[in-house]
């Protein structure tokens, strides 16, 4: 049977040759050489390895993981710095309610709670990481400032969304 010149060209294309798995060494006499198609997996592994390394370095090492409720619209700021102190106590203000490390605390109990946290964290390490909605009134933040002052916590960190 006569083969067309197009089939001939396709059979010897470099790409196809790279994908051919040969059965090792010289063809065995009397046996027809078998060829199988295989994916070039080595380059795929290279690509996968690079993605894994990128994801490991780029998304896990920078910053700390802090859950912010979706209903909370954090204010936007350009000069915000990345969060790097996981030992800060997270205080969330939602509709006049205060949550210290996800535990609801009354306004009256804020000072005592923050004092406990300060004692557990150490004098110099104590700081508050405040998450609050940008539409909130300043009056809702005021009890927290006073309670922090009573507890002797001076450093305040306000959670913001970095402006792009």
């Amino acid at each position: 049977m006569k083969r067309s010149s197009m089939n001939q060209a396709a059979r010897f294309s470099p790409l196809e040759q790279a994908q051919l798995l040969k059965n090792g060494g010289e063809p065995i006499a009397g046996k027809k050489a078998e060829a199988a198609l295989a994916l070039p997996l080595t380059s795929l592994i290279d690509a996968f390895s690079i993605i894994v390394i990128y994801l490991l370095i780029g998304t896990q090492s920078g910053g700390i993981e802090i859950d912010v409720p979706k209903r909370l619209n954090l204010p936007v700021a350009e000069s915000g710095i990345a969060v790097d102190k996981p030992q800060a106590s997270i205080v969330r203000i939602e509709k006049g309610q205060y949550f210290v490390n996800n535990e609801a605390v009354s306004v009256q109990g804020l000072g005592a709670k923050l004092y406990q946290l300060k004692k557990s964290l150490g004098e110099n390490e104590a700081e508050i990481f405040i998450q609050a909605d940008q539409e909130m009134n300043y009056a809702d933040l005021d009890p927290l400032l006073r309670a922090g002052s009573e507890a002797g916590i001076q450093k305040l960190k306000f959670a913001v969304m970095p402006n792009k």
């Binding site: 996968f48 998304t59 700021a77 000069s79 710095i81």
Partner: protein, 149 residues
């Protein structure tokens, strides 16, 4: 006639691919894409002036409920106006005027680094944060936040 069998030294890379695929899926699902930022301040309660001690120049910014801003300078040696007022713009703070004013003050007083922000009860929290952001952008780095008077 016995034929010599050739050993196949190829590493089976399909399990490696499987592991890598699972790793990629896991990392993508657990990745923290949203990076939070923080604006750092200190409490500004009480008077820190000690008799004989010389306080550095400071700027007090009072954010009114009508979104106007009153700026007053303290402990400044230079002869210059000490009170400024930035009127509101519509229902918002006039951020351009405020930024311009802060730049002017910073150019006149390069040592000025301390700011105390005093918002009023109904002042918007987002505006307070934005004001602190503007202060930081103008190299006013020591920011204190005062509770309600």
């Amino acid at each position: 006639m016995s034929q010599k069998k050739e050993l196949n030294f190829e590493i089976n890379i399909l399990p490696i691919l499987d592991i890598l695929s699972v790793l990629i899926c896991f990392l993508l699902l657990t990745a923290v894409w949203m990076q939070l930022g923080t604006i750092d301040t200190k409490q500004a309660i009480g008077d820190n002036s000690v008799s004989g001690a010389q306080n550095p120049p400071s700027l007090w910014a009072i954010v009114k409920e009508d979104n106007s801003v009153e700026l007053s300078l303290r402990d400044v040696k230079e002869k210059m106006p000490l009170e400024y007022r930035v009127a509101s713009r519509g229902r918002d703070i006039d951020w351009n005027s405020l930024s311009q004013r802060l730049q002017n003050l910073k150019s006149q007083l390069p040592d000025l680094k301390t700011v105390v922000i005093r918002p009023e009860a109904r002042t918007n929290y987002g505006n307070v944060i934005r004001m602190m952001d503007q202060m930081k952008q103008n190299q006013l780095t020591d920011i204190g936040l005062s509770p309600l008077g």
